[in-house]
């Protein structure tokens, strides 16, 4: 090859000469492992019995890797890796900071737990049509979105998780699912396309796609029309996060698929929208984001109240949980709207808490449906007598989602209320507290009717299908794991609160994020 070898080109500004230390690959592992194993599982579609095993082992490895990564990030700051050794802004790079790694760690735990639950609830058909490959690709997309340091790459991961979620939501092919999937698919596609518009304009304005590089260039050019850009991004991510008035796809679709799919969706998908809003609004465009405070304030108030009211009005437990997801999104928007370090701290911690609790609640709803044969509040009952252990776990989840001590919901609630009060937003505080009170009534009612009440609403007996021993192991263990983590965060709050704290601080002062990518640092 006739290359210009005699021309003296200094490659070191664009290219990493040294070998990448093996430990740095940890930041790419949460994406690479599920991608490869997802493709591998597609080839194994005629061996449905080993699919859950392979998916479980992959996700367990990812979870362990994420723990190591999180410890390293907590100790020494963001972990950076340049793909193909091309340095930013030329190549795509991953940069795992506290926010991304914390969210990725929590998501991988939930994905792992859902795979354990699915081993007995996803039947041969679901496995043949690719439940596990879709699940792994979804995990890859979610982790990629949390860890990437390139906004076009962020868009690509959004599409990866979107297309895998399309596959999961139609799996089973019931009339309800097709109806829900049409609304889910179109509205999410529009949101993602809007995000792409924003990315196109950002590149046109600043000539770079790397987040660290962008942060510097945006701070240097106060005259750039960042307000317009931020409007597109806020619209796109609020739609992704299902914030009012862009929330209608969520209650229309989340109750239709298999309950494991619902659990994964409720735990992960909306939080990716919240994450992207925090990353772009909080770190990249802080000045422009500040002008949206008043709008976001109303979004927070209306989303949390609408979610709580919808939960109170639903008789189907799965639908009610969908509305509870909304009220949680409202709570995260409280922190985002206040935009003080305390508020964002609370929002990050709430996101982590919500990932865990919503997954556990959906899985528990699946067990309620399996034992009583119904998801309707009027015709469930008698579960306390059938399984006191399950009743106790559900009660803990009720307390956790309502934000009572000593469970994981309490600490983010304290932070959010304190941040809203410090900012002098009395109405916001009142709306948030009212919404979480109504949500507590709604979810507490499920415990009252499904567990405490012995018969159906009209007094007739509920024909309870007791769980076999194998069923108990498969269905109650995953919920128990999540409950242990939820109680653990509630009692030993320090690690989670600390991690969320450095995540929020990293958004307000991105020096560490930028210096992890040395060549573009000032």
């Amino acid at each position: 090859m006739a290359g210009p070898s005699d021309v003296d080109v200094d490659l070191s500004v664009a290219y990493v000469d040294a070998t990448v230390p093996a430990a740095d690959y940890l930041v790419a592992l949460p994406v690479i492992a599920p991608l490869i194993m997802g493709a591998f599982l597609l080839m194994l579609r005629r061996q449905p019995h080993i699919q859950p095993m392979v998916a479980g082992i992959t996700l367990a490895a990812v979870f362990l890797g994420n723990i190591v990564l999180a410890l390293r990030v907590a100790e020494s700051g963001p972990v950076f890796m340049a793909m193909g050794r091309w340095l930013p802004p030329f190549g795509i790079s991953f940069n795992g900071d506290a926010l991304g790694v914390f969210m990725a760690l929590t998501s991988s735990l939930v994905a792992l737990v859902c795979v354990i639950y699915s081993a007995r609830s996803i039947n041969g058909d679901g496995r043949r049509y690719g439940f596990y490959p879709f699940l792994l690709l979804l995990t890859a997309g979610v982790s990629g979105a949390f860890l990437t340091a390139d906004i076009f790459n962020l868009y690509v991961w959004f599409e990866v998780l979107l297309i895998s979620s399309f596959g999961l939501i139609v799996l089973g092919n019931s009339h309800e699912q097709l109806d829900g999937a049409v609304k889910y698919a179109f509205l999410n596609l529009i949101a993602t396309t809007l995000f792409l518009i924003g990315v196109g304009y950002t590149y046109g304005l600043f000539g770079t796609l790397n987040m660290a590089d962008l942060t510097l260039r945006i701070a240097e050019s106060p005259d750039a029309p960042t307000g317009t850009l931020m409007m597109i991004f806020v619209f796109a991510f609020a739609m992704k996060a299902a914030a009012f008035p862009l929330n209608f796809w969520l209650p229309a679709s989340y109750h239709t698929p298999n309950i494991v799919t619902s659990a994964i969706f409720a735990a992960l998908l909306t939080k990716v929208g919240i994450y992207a809003l925090l990353r772009l609004g909080g770190m990249l465009f802080p000045a422009a984001f500040g002008t949206f405070q008043d709008v976001l304030l109303w979004v927070a108030i209306l989303t949390s109240l609408l979610g709580a009211a919808g939960a109170l009005a639903s008789s189907d437990i799965r639908k009610m949980l969908g509305f509870l997801v909304l009220s949680g999104i409202g709570a995260m928007f409280v922190g985002i709207a206040v935009a003080s370090p305390d508020g964002v701290h609370g929002a990050v911690l709430y996101a982590v808490h919500s990932i865990l609790v919503m997954a556990a609640l959906y899985l528990a709803a699946g067990v309620i449906g399996r034992m009583t044969g119904s998801f309707d509040l009027r015709s469930v009952g008698g579960l306390y007598r059938a399984s006191p252990f399950f009743a106790a776990m559900f009660l803990i989840l009720v307390f956790a989602i309502s934000g009572l001590p000593p469970f994981s919901g309490f600490w983010p609630k304290v932070l959010l209320v304190r941040a809203a009060m410090t900012a002098g937003e009395a109405w916001l505080t009142a709306a948030y507290l009212l919404s979480s009170f109504i949500a507590m009534i709604a979810i507490g009612r499920v415990w009252l009717f499904a567990f405490w009440r012995n018969g159906q609403q009209d007094g007739s007996e509920v024909a309870i299908q007791p769980l076999s021993l194998a069923d108990q192991r498969a269905f109650l263990t995953p919920i128990a794991v999540l409950v242990v983590v939820i109680v653990g965060i509630g009692i030993i709050a320090d690690p989670a609160v600390y991690m969320a704290g450095i995540a929020a601080a990293g958004l307000f002062d991105p020096t560490a994020y930028i210096t992890a990518i040395s060549p573009v640092a000032p």
Partner: protein, 125 residues
């Protein structure tokens, strides 16, 4: 040239938004296809449009001699086209299945997942 394309992109966006405001799935599909093309054109235009100047650095120099088109947006557009194409294929099949199964392509009548008359939860016990 950029001005012409900017106007064209505006027309694309207007048409796609008009189509997507419809209740009928088939129009929504056409709107989504137009929307993704509008975005692709937008990114393409953002990378400068230059006639017949290859973005190649001549031998012995560090930068191209003339102003060239930026090849990176074109790479982005390629990625976006592939993604939009695959998602559009999925949406087509989904819309067709929904039409076969639900018997309508009017979103106002697609109310199986969200019936208008939903039962109220029990008031007390």
């Amino acid at each position: 040239m950029e001005t012409v394309l900017a106007v064209l992109i505006g027309i694309y966006f207007a048409a796609s938004i008009y189509l997507m405001l419809s209740r009928h799935i088939i129009r929504l599909l056409l709107g989504a296809a137009l929307l993704s093309n509008a975005v692709n054109l937008l990114i393409f235009t953002a990378g400068r449009l230059v006639h017949e100047v290859p973005p190649v650095v001549p031998y012995g120099l560090y930068a191209p001699e003339a102003v060239t088109a930026n090849p990176l947006p074109q790479a982005l557009v390629l990625t976006a086209i592939v993604i939009a194409f695959s998602i559009f294929a999925f949406l087509l099949v989904l819309a067709m299945r929904a039409y076969q199964v639900l018997g309508t392509d009017d979103t106002d009548h697609m109310r199986i997942a969200e019936p208008i008359e939903t039962p109220r939860p029990p008031q007390g016990y």
